[in-house]
Subunit: 207 residues, 2 copies
């Protein structure tokens, strides 16, 4: 019990198990929705006992929120944070938009768990509704900040409406998902790029 | 058994029961999704026996597809068909877009059952995936036809891309839903109108 090496190993193993459970959970939620994320269904899929899973997540709510947080963590890792490496202004704003459009492929998921969560919980008050609203509002704020920086860099007209831009950019992401997932249209990203160009061009500063 | 009046009454009563079941089903699907639409859950909500419900819908699939078809019927009744009363060209195209943006309120639903169905089934092959894809593709075709008529009326530039317009219009509808339902933003329709104006203005024929 007092052997630090043993404790470290135990801790690492627990973390690895938790990560494996969350990986299965994110994939399940992306395809079948968060409603399918019960302790029982996930235990079966992860090849664990229900009691083993309960040791990591005490309730369905806790499991759902942890799964959403894991999806957001991946989004930040493969889409949001890499975009911040672009210089402030239009290049960063384009990177934020392009990485958002491509994040599902980059994360090797077939669908976006945040989109699933949004449609499942927007009508149902509770911890999941609060969690997804918080994540989407934070992303919306980041897009507005990106637009503000593009105004400050002189690339966008000073009267560009940051909120309107963020509102429309989400629309381009959403319609791109529909074309790809429902219509199985391979040109979804081409159409999305054209829409993004139209949106950006309408804000460009007249030199 | 050979009394036609009796048969008519029986037929009408059956239709009324079916309509009442579908009304409960559309509301349930809009809020909790089509996954919640089991014969058992709906029987409880409609105050009927499971066997009574089975007499109308033989399976969960049949119930789900009938519910989706009923939602589409309402969409056509309150949104699509009224827009066709507007003269061909830009006025009709605007009516198609505005009625789409307002259809949930007009139908007294809180959410759109087609949006629910799309996100639940786009990843899951089967009759529901086929049904929602068919409905959404038909609506997409109608929007493209509306754009084509607006080119023919001389209001849009001849090189306007009908597919691109329909792609972007769906984005405006989708982001308007997110602002209204998830962000509970009362200005969702104002932002949507501005986005629609920007889209339309970019296609207008230079007189």
């Amino acid at each position: 019990m007092n052997n630090p090496a043993l404790n470290t190993t135990k801790h690492t193993k627990g973390e690895a198990t938790r990560a494996a459970i969350l990986d299965a959970a994110v994939r399940l939620a992306a395809v079948e929705g968060f409603g399918a994320l019960t302790i029982g269904a996930l235990a079966e899929r992860a090849g664990m006992s229900k009691s083993g899973l309960f040791a990591h997540f005490g309730s369905k709510d806790e499991l759902q929120v942890a799964t959403l947080d894991e999806a957001v963590r991946r989004y930040n890792e493969v889409a949001f944070l890499p975009a911040l490496k672009a210089p402030r202004g239009l290049r960063r704003l384009r990177a934020l938009a392009n990485n958002w459009l491509q994040w599902v492929e980059a994360s090797t998921l077939h669908s976006c768990p945040m989109v699933s969560a949004m449609h499942e919980f927007d009508d149902r008050p509770g911890v999941m509704r609060e969690a997804i609203a918080e994540h989407m509002l934070r992303l919306n704020d980041e897009i507005m900040r990106g637009v503000q920086m593009t105004i400050e860099s002189g690339e966008f007209e000073p009267d560009t409406d940051c909120e309107q831009f963020a509102f429309e950019l989400f629309g381009i992401v959403a319609t791109s998902y529909r074309s790809r997932n429902l219509f199985q249209d391979k040109r979804a990203l081409v159409l999305a790029d054209k829409a993004l160009d139209r949106l950006i061009n309408s804000c460009l500063a007249v030199a």
